[in-house]
């Protein structure tokens, strides 16, 4: 663990951290956003050349950058799991302001590369704390994401770490250069802001401590307790908002710094800043959620305890806050007794990841673990044993199985554990569907009606079963997907009528009108021809001409013949002729 002191964490004169440059990598930055990610690949697995070249591609970086947008405090740390599965190593830093900086090293959470390290630069005395927390967190994540990995393989980590540090050695002078560039902004203003932030953090700590002491007394009635909680929540929210706004003032500075940092080609600069307690807060939150996903309750508690032991200033308040939240969860939602279940919260990327199971060897992703097990057979005989192929059984522990409930990561959502009337989600599938339905774009459009949109494919498919089939409409405005239901409705209610869709009526009307117009037009034409000639008095002799080839219907021979009834036909005004035109046998 000491290596971090020597090689990884470099401090500059001002107490900030040097940017850590990697051998290869990619820097995604978005100038118009409040934060950006630093992504760099670590080539510390030299023995597996197949994967060495697989770095994060630019489009992945784009995606990552997009997600980082918004700049709210809760999104300071992002875990770009969805995009970095195939990387050997990855480091991500999210920067908010010049003072808020953290660097998170994420390694692929597989069995083969368990050397996850999470580093955040901060005050020298906090470094051990941080190191501890980061390694613990990576361990937890291993536990979570790859269920089979139950133990942290320390030995393997030990083996791979030297390589890691050697690479860092190589890149040391480069990072120094980058750090030089980053020094252009005014450190005093930053320090000032940081002082304010520190003050705020203390405020939060005080508030939470007061609750803690209240809780220990156990004398409070549930109502009072809830009221108290509400008060604390409001206080917390106020303070956090202040912190964020203060941090925000530092933003232009860090932007400048970043742009200058990027200017050096072929280098990825991590920018070291003076640490802030806020980072810790976020870090912990992150860790918390990581832990809660898969880790055992006891581990989680241990971790929290350990963290608070190391850092009795920044960590405790948060952990207690979470405790409070957990307690609150039990109150609402389903009728589970208070605290009888644990709340887990997945991160956005995890929820949206197309695959949840990954091959430790080749990194291929799968939606189901069964598919992964099938896939694993191709990697060697050891995966073909019945035990390897069997469905991993739930860990049998001496403790009774804890009921797990899930929280939506979206702040402000009723399904988020911080919501006042929190209602937990029952399964991971619920989380996925809920998150997509409520907080994602509806990208699936029904191809039939072109109006309905869905964010979950299954919803679209369900809709498509009914869409396009006739909408059975009643005059009262109710629609039915089935005709018999409509007729049942009409039979039941007096005065309700089946309603025809308007376009149907219109098209029918248009058609009819067209036809009748046509008929009328033709008739008029003909009537004109007839009446034009028919009144001329001529005699029979002309009729003979009908046989001659006078062409088609020209001044028509037959027309000159006065039929008895034709006059009546044209002008049925005189009553005796019109009379003769009525039928008398009916």
């Amino acid at each position: 663990m000491d290596f971090l002191d020597d090689e990884l964490a470099f401090r500059d004169e001002d107490g900030g951290f040097l940017p850590v440059a990697r051998k290869t990598g990619f820097l995604g930055a978005s100038p118009d956003k409040d934060c950006f990610f630093l992504v760099s690949g670590m080539d510390f697995l030299d023995d597996e050349p197949a994967f060495r070249d697989e770095q994060v591609k630019p489009q992945r970086g784009d995606r990552l950058r997009g997600k980082g947008g918004g700049g709210s405090g809760s999104q300071i740390l992002e875990r770009p799991k969805a995009l970095n599965r195939r990387l050997d190593g990855l480091s991500i830093g999210t920067f908010i302001g010049g003072s808020v900086e953290c660097l998170l090293d994420l390694a692929v959470p597989t069995r083969r590369i368990p050397n996850l390290t999470l580093e955040v630069a901060m005050d020298p005395k906090q470094i051990p704390t941080f190191e501890a927390c980061s390694s613990m967190s990576s361990q937890c994540r291993n536990l979570n994401q790859n269920q089979r990995v139950t133990e942290f393989d320390a030995g393997e980590t030990e083996r791979s770490l030297p390589k890691f540090s050697s690479h860092l050695d190589n890149s040391f002078h480069q990072s120094n250069q980058a750090q030089q560039v980053a020094m252009n902004w005014d450190p005093r203003a930053v320090l000032n802001s940081l002082d304010i932030l520190g003050h705020k953090i203390h405020q939060i700590q005080d508030v939470v401590r007061s609750t803690l002491s209240n809780e220990r007394q156990l004398s409070m009635q549930p109502n009072e307790f809830a009221a108290q909680q509400q008060l604390i929540n409001t206080d917390l929210t106020c303070i956090i908002i202040e912190i964020i706004s203060t941090a925000g003032t530092l933003l232009p500075l860090i932007k400048n710094a970043l742009s200058s940092g990027i200017n050096s080609p072929g280098q990825i600069g991590g920018i070291a800043n003076s640490a802030s307690d806020l980072d810790i807060v976020d870090m912990l939150r992150q860790n918390d959620s990581l832990l809660s996903e898969g880790a055992k309750d006891s581990e989680y508690e241990e971790l929290i305890k350990g963290l608070s032991d190391w850092d009795d200033e920044g960590l405790k308040p948060i952990s207690t806050e979470d405790d409070v939240k957990d307690n609150e969860d039990g109150v609402s939602g389903e009728n589970l007794p208070l605290g009888s279940y644990e709340v887990l919260q997945l991160e956005k990327e995890e929820i949206l990841a197309p695959h949840t199971h990954f091959c430790a060897i080749c990194g291929k992703g799968f939606k189901r673990d069964a598919n992964l097990r099938m896939h694993m057979r191709g990697h060697g005989d050891e995966y073909k044993s019945p035990s390897a192929l069997a469905k991993p059984r739930k860990e049998e522990s001496s403790e009774p199985v804890h009921i797990k409930r899930y929280s939506c990561p979206f702040i402000g959502c009723k399904r988020n554990k911080e919501h006042k009337n929190f209602q937990p989600l029952k399964t991971i599938l619920c989380v996925k569907n809920h998150y997509k339905r409520s907080h994602c774009d509806k990208s699936y459009t029904c191809r039939r009606c072109n109006s309905k949109k869905f964010s979950v494919m299954a919803d679209l498919k369900t809709h498509e079963k009914h869409c396009g089939s006739n909408k059975w409409l009643c005059s009262c405005g109710t629609t039915f997907s089935r005709k018999d239901k409509l007729f049942g409705h009409i039979a039941l209610f007096q005065g309700h009528t089946p309603a025809l869709s308007m376009d149907e009526v219109k098209s029918q009307g248009m058609l009819d009108q067209l036809q009748s117009d046509e008929v009328m037009a033709k008739k008029e034409d003909m009537d004109y021809i007839i009446s034009g000639n028919v009144n001329e008095d001529t005699n029979f002799s002309l009729l003979k001409g009908a046989d001659d080839d006078l062409g088609y219907f020209s001044s028509m021979n037959f027309d000159s013949f006065t039929f008895g009834g034709i006059d009546g036909l044209q002008q049925p005004s005189s009553f005796d002729t019109s009379e003769s035109l009525f039928s008398f046998h009916k």
Binding site: L500, Q515, G565, L569
Partner: protein, 711 residues
């Protein structure tokens, strides 16, 4: 005023009059009768005053409208009388205008004038107008706002839902609409009908585009419906019919023939409290299992027609018949075999009076059971049934002495034995059809003439009938319809007997009874003055003399003289004498030429249908015929003198044509715009490509051929 009331009383008392003379000023020395005698019935109005012309009209005015209406009420039988009446003077004309209730215009172009003249028409029959536009219907709706009760559009086209809507909305008193054959109308039109709230009778036969949605609109809108005909409405299913049954509780008569329904709607239909008449002809969706699953009873049902329900067997029928104890008439034509089990299901129906089993396979045991099951059968039809035997038929007729109508057409196995039992037990028989019962002999016919004195209709077509038999039959003095076609043995002698014995004869069919000559026809014409329909086709001995005698039968409306040796002069005499002639078939009358047509056109203004094939008629004759404004149906094949131009002229000139049968060689010759125009007016062309066939084969040969075809 007293005079007027007295007049009313006198008119009221008189029960139909041949001549009514209104002598307004009796006692005046010099009566100046003003009479019109264009019809048999005569209205003579005597205006006694020798006064000046302008004075006379005021005298007629003194007759109150009440009196005139009473007179008009008695003139209903013959439309020509009304015309005469209206031509008397202005007041009579006005009275007739106000009195007329029914109007049947020949074409829609006359509608505006007719509507202006007859403001109180309640029944508008547009079945002779092939093309009725929305505008015409709108004018009807506007003119007959309160009076119109019934409108018939069954033969018309060219209108849309908008026209129907204007009638349905404006005419609040409308109770009847016939929209049959409006194959291009869809649900929108049905929705428009639904706005006629007082509708009681609705015919929608062959409205194939109307769906459940449309019929649903009608069911909800027209809840007073008593009669609904949905025959051939292929778009309607159980749902629509079910909704009708739920909403229209007043339904008395429901025709669901050929509608794709299943048994699912039957419970709702049978639940209708007043349903009396139900037709389920050709409902192939109904089967045995379905009918057996129907548990609903209908006490009110009286008439059930389930002909052509080919998927129903005796089990289904038995199940249904047990639920309908009030039946009076049942038709199971072209259904299943009539066996003991089916016939025994009739047992529960106490009042059954009429059974139609046309085209069914019948067993003797079935007939016996039927005879035992039914109580008072009045009408029995076994037309084209196979398996009818003397034994079965005799058993039935001896059990049911009240039989009035018996149809045994094509029951080829029955003999004199059956006739003996029929005539001995069913003395009140009025209708007897036994076409093609070849085994019946002279003795059988003798029995008919001897015992069935009430017989009114007798069909002996294609029987072994001779003059002796005919002499016996002439004993049925009430006979009004006699069909003795294809009886090759009969001659003038037999016809003379008929002429003497049957003065009420109205219809006589002598098709291919080649033994007939002018003498027989003359005797008939003299002895049967009420004759309306006569068929003398292929009686090759018939000449102009027959026509001359037939011209005395002023009621004659249908004359078929195919292949007779008649000429234009004979036709002219008919035209002058028989003013009511509506159907004329002179196919293969080679001597009929333009002269005949000219006179026909001049006098037979009521002609509707004519067949001129093989005649020597040219363009001149045809054009003359075009002046017959009623003409609707023409068949002109192989008329030598006809040219395309002349034909085109005729087609344009005959405004009322609905159907024209022509040789296909004319099709390319007649200008296409003219054809299109005529079609647009509502005429249908049938192009035939029959070979020219001059020779008439002898009737014996023809019969041989037809029998060979039969076997």
């Amino acid at each position: 005023m007293t005079k007027s009331r007295d007049l009313c009383r006198r008119i009221d008392r008189s029960d139909g009059f041949a001549t009514l003379t209104l002598d307004l000023f009796s006692g005046s020395p010099n009566p100046n009768p003003c009479s019109y005698s264009r019809s048999a019935k005569r209205v003579r109005v005597s205006c006694a005053s020798p006064a000046a012309e302008e004075n006379r009209s005021s005298l007629f005015d003194s007759l109150s409208e009440e009196v005139l209406f009473l007179i008009l009420d008695r003139l209903d039988s013959d439309p020509l009388d009304k015309k005469s009446f209206s031509l008397v003077c202005r007041s009579f004309y006005a009275a007739e205008s106000r009195h007329r209730r029914a109007l049947t215009p020949l074409r829609s172009g006359l509608l505006p004038a007719a509507l202006a003249r007859y403001p109180s028409v309640s029944r508008l029959d547009l079945s002779l107008c092939p093309s009725v536009t929305d505008a015409a219907l709108a004018s009807v709706g506007g003119a007959l706002r309160s009076s119109l009760r019934s409108i018939d559009l069954s033969r018309s086209r060219g209108f849309s839902y908008a026209g129907i809507e204007s009638v349905a909305v404006n005419c609040a008193a409308l109770v009847e609409i016939n929209l049959s054959n409006a194959t291009d109308l869809s649900d929108a039109a049905a929705a428009a009908i639904g706005r006629a709230r007082n509708l009681e009778k609705l015919w929608l036969a062959r409205c194939k585009m109307v769906t459940d949605m449309g019929i649903g609109c009608i069911a909800v809108g027209c809840q007073k419906l008593r009669l609904l005909c949905l025959k051939w409405c292929l778009g309607i299913s159980d749902l629509g019919v079910g909704l009708v049954a739920v909403k229209c509780k007043q339904l008395r008569s429901l025709d669901l023939s050929f509608v794709p329904i299943t048994e699912k709607c039957l419970p709702a239909v049978l639940q209708l409290p007043h349903l009396e008449d139900l037709a389920l002809v050709g409902c192939l969706g109904i089967d045995d299992e379905g009918l057996m699953s129907v548990k609903q009873e209908s006490k009110s049902l009286q008439v059930l027609d389930m002909s052509n329900c080919q998927h129903v067997n005796h089990a289904g029928f038995s199940s249904l018949l047990s639920k309908t104890p009030g039946l009076r008439q049942i038709s199971l034509a072209y259904c299943c075999k009539v066996t003991h089990s089916l016939a025994s299901s009739l047992q529960k129906i106490y009042n059954l009076q009429s059974i139609k089993l046309d085209g069914c396979e019948v067993t003797t045991s079935g007939m016996k059971t039927m005879a035992n099951s039914c109580r008072t059968l009045g009408e029995l039809s076994l037309s084209k049934c196979s398996g009818v035997t003397d034994e079965g038929l005799s058993f039935i007729v001896t059990k049911h002495k009240g039989l009035v109508k018996l149809d045994a057409t094509c029951c080829r196995n029955i003999t004199d034995l059956s006739l003996a039992s029929i005539t001995s037990s069913c003395t009140s028989l009025t209708n007897l059809s036994m076409e093609s019962c070849n085994l019946v002999s002279r003795e059988g016919f003798r029995l008919i003439g001897q015992r069935c004195h009430l017989l009114e209709e007798l069909d002996l077509t294609d029987n072994d009938l001779d003059d002796e038999g005919l002499r016996a039959i002439s004993g049925c003095h009430n006979l009004s319809v006699l069909k003795i076609g294809i009886c090759l043995k009969i001659s003038d002698e037999g016809l003379i007997h008929v002429a003497k014995g049957c003065p009420n004869l109205q219809e006589l069919d002598l098709y291919r009874s080649v033994g007939i000559t002018d003498i027989g026809v003359m005797a008939i014409a003299r002895g049967c003055p009420l004759l309306q329909i006569i068929n003398l086709s292929y009686c090759t001995e018939v000449t102009d003399y027959s026509l001359r005698s037939l011209s005395k039968c002023s009621n004659l409306n249908t004359l078929e003289i195919r292949g007779c040796q008649v000429s234009s002069s004979g036709l002219a005499i008919i035209a002058v004498g028989c003013r009511k002639l509506t159907k004329l078939d002179i196919k293969k009358c080679y001597f009929v030429d333009d002269a005949g047509m000219l006179l026909l056109a001049r006098f037979s203004q009521n002609l509707r249908q004519i067949n001129l094939s093989y005649c020597s008629v040219t363009d001149v004759g045809l054009l003359a015929l075009a002046s017959v404004s009623c003409l609707q149906n023409m068949t002109i094949l192989h008329s030598g003198g006809l040219t395309a131009n002349g034909l085109a002229a005729v087609l344009v000139a005959c405004g009322g044509l609905t159907k024209v049968k022509l040789h296909s060689s004319f099709k390319p010759l007649v200008p296409k715009p003219i054809l299109e125009h005529v079609e647009a007016r509502g005429c249908v062309f049938q192009w035939r490509d029959k070979p020219f066939q001059v020779e008439l084969e002898p009737s014996e040969v023809w019969k041989q051929q037809s029998q060979e075809m039969h076997v």
